[in-house]
Symmetry: C2
Subunit: 206 residues, 2 copies
């Protein structure tokens, strides 16, 4: 069995999808959580990282950067990436769609200008979030299964769950009128390998 | 042989990496270039697209969105994605790194505020571009081959070539002090399958 070490900050952020893959696959990993708030600690830590950024993964000492690259690599290894090349593409299409929504939300988190922030927030509520909710609903309904791709859980299902977590923390009603997405979320949360983890993980703003 | 149709605007943008894959693999495809400037044409076209955005790919009538998802799908199909799961991860690491640089540049292209634009441009020249140049140089040198991953050309090499094209159009000197990247660029441009295409493709600002 390979020795995995995940280096990331003590938040969900871009690391949580990777953590959820390990939990779902029941594969041991070292979940190294760097204290971003402790500036001295991070600055020192940073020098030992491949690019000065997190997350990165060590696999038997070999280093890999880029959160989604890491997630896809592990998903392939754990049989959670889709069973054919086409299924794999469909999984990645969902993952990339979720990442686009995450990136839209990151704009809000990093905006410091009050009036621009107000504009971005209202655009998110009225335009961006509904667009992505509808798009993901369509992908799910076109597929016609409880999961996004194939007949079992994949990286795609984890990505959809993870991207809505931050939004739901801010407004628990955002999926109320999206029954397929609500049911899908419940399905992921009731997965026997994930249930305990999702219930008990530490709260994280992002 | 599958029937491929690539739908994208008449620019390089997020479609060119996909086009280069077809050219490199010598696989026929329909290169459908939508006229973005012709607002009426685009608005009409848009209704027939899966998400209202481009690019998307049709494979025997089945639709796939997300530019990098499409690129990775085709690269796997054409044997240009890396030979093992780990090699595939290394290829994707490079592709995602190039996409981060593309995204940084897109911020400049979309900025309308004069003073912010000035700030972003100087940050690009002094900080962002050198960071990515050094990062990619390190990946290339660590690997120790002429190509980024393995001993033959992959999607990673195309991604690096493509991301620097826009920068080089604006300032042909940006790789002058980066010998490994310059040599690598020449290698891609001299590939017998790519040479003619790169020399003769229409000029595109992005």
């Amino acid at each position: 069995m390979a020795c995995y070490k995940l280096h990331y900050f003590a938040v969900r952020g871009r690391g949580e999808l990777i953590r959820m893959l390990f939990i779902l696959a029941k594969v041991d990993f070292q979940d190294i959580r760097v204290n971003e708030g402790g500036v001295d600690e991070w600055e020192e830590y940073r020098h030992g990282t491949p690019t000065g950024e997190l997350p990165f993964l060590e696999v038997d000492g070999k280093q890999l950067t880029q959160s989604l690259t890491i997630a896809r690599y592990l998903a392939r290894k754990f049989g959670l990436a889709g069973d054919t090349n086409w299924e794999q593409a469909l999984v990645e299409q969902i993952v990339d769609t979720c990442d686009d929504l995450r990136a839209e939300n990151a704009k809000i988190i990093h905006e410091r200008d009050e009036s621009k922030l107000k504009y971005l927030k209202s655009k998110m509520t009225e335009e961006v979030l509904p667009k992505f909710q509808n798009r993901l609903t369509r992908f799910l309904q076109q597929h016609g299964d409880r999961y996004f791709v194939g007949s079992k859980i994949t990286l795609a299902d984890l990505a959809v769950h993870e991207v809505f977590t931050t939004f739901l923390q801010n407004d628990p009603s955002i999926l109320d009128e999206h029954n397929s997405l609500t049911e899908h979320r419940r399905l992921v949360e009731q997965h026997p390998n994930l249930r305990e983890y999702i219930l008990n993980r530490p709260y994280s703003v992002v």
